[in-house]
């Protein structure tokens, strides 16, 4: 609820400022936003259905055991490995991450999962090699994995 308030007040504020500066641009911006919303809403609903199904099928105790508060370094490593290997689009991974937190996963586990998902791509490595060459692509992924682990650990200290 708190988050919704942040979004509502911020969007009302920016809309007002934008409207005062340039009415035409603001309307164009609204149209663009609406278009993006239309593009994302059905896939988003599908994901929510899928996540609800998965939550029912996978017992919460299992998630807690492997990624939860007591999972420690093992949970952290599992999260980093799964995040590096799989290719889950952002707007799918956030509902999953939010559920992980609710099931008792630590902030640092969730952070390393999210960061490796975003920055390390084992599945897309062949494609990346075509662009940058083998050495650079592999190096980028390894360094990003290291950075993701550092981010996860630091988040654990901060939050």
């Amino acid at each position: 609820m708190n988050n919704a308030l942040i979004f509502i007040s911020f969007s009302v504020f920016t809309s007002l400022v934008s409207f005062l500066l340039d009415r035409q641009k603001t309307i164009l911006g609204f149209k663009k936003g609406l278009k993006m919303f239309q593009n994302i809403i059905v896939p988003f609903l599908n994901i929510l259905i899928l996540v609800s199904l998965l939550l029912f099928i996978i017992p919460p105790q299992l998630i807690v055991k492997y990624l939860g508060a007591g999972s420690g370094a093992v949970g952290f490593a599992i999260a980093a490995a799964v995040g590096s290997i799989t290719l889950i689009p952002g707007f799918i991974s956030y509902p999953i991450a939010s559920n992980l937190l609710k099931q008792g996963a630590s902030y640092s586990t969730v952070a390393v999962f999210m960061t490796t998902l975003m920055m390390v791509g084992v599945v897309t490595l062949p494609l990346e090699i075509k662009y940058f060459g083998r050495r650079v692509a592999v190096l980028r992924n390894l360094l990003n994995l290291a950075v993701a682990i550092i981010i996860g650990l630091l988040i654990g200290i901060i939050l």
Binding site: G33, F37, Y94, V110, M114, K130, Y131
Partner: protein, 176 residues
Amino acid sequence: MTKKTWENFKPYIWLLSFVIFTIGSFWFGFNPGKTIYRSFTESFIEMIVFIPFLFIIVGLFDVWFPKEKIEKYIGKDSGIKGIFAVIILAMLQAGPLYGAFPVAYILYKKGASIKNIFIYLGAFSSLKIPMLGIEIGYLGLKFTLARTLVALPLFIALGYFMEWYLKDKNFKVNQI
């Protein structure tokens, strides 16, 4: 059913089956179906209270900060301004990381430094505005801020490292 109507209908299959499944579950008193429906509504509400507002903000951003304007500031000797420009440019994008590789090629063509190409990839992977919005919505402002503030300096450092490492190794980005 023609091929075209089928294509139009396809994205709604999940949704439609779910609606039928839920109505059926309530009709026949199928408890697992009810539980799944309840967890769906919960996550639906969690989403719908912020996503529409997020897209208002993203749409406005798009018209006020067009990408073409920012691309002007990306050159070999662009210094701090160049770093800012690639980060802002990356933040305005959308899509998965492999969508950033073609853009990296364009940056390379336009004469961006090695450092800025890798800073771009870093910022693209984890600072895109629409994604930050979704992240705030789901994981909270505190988490998002902490992650962003920790990640940013690390990306920039990575960019400097890559530039130093690849300086005399004739680095290039290929078009495919």
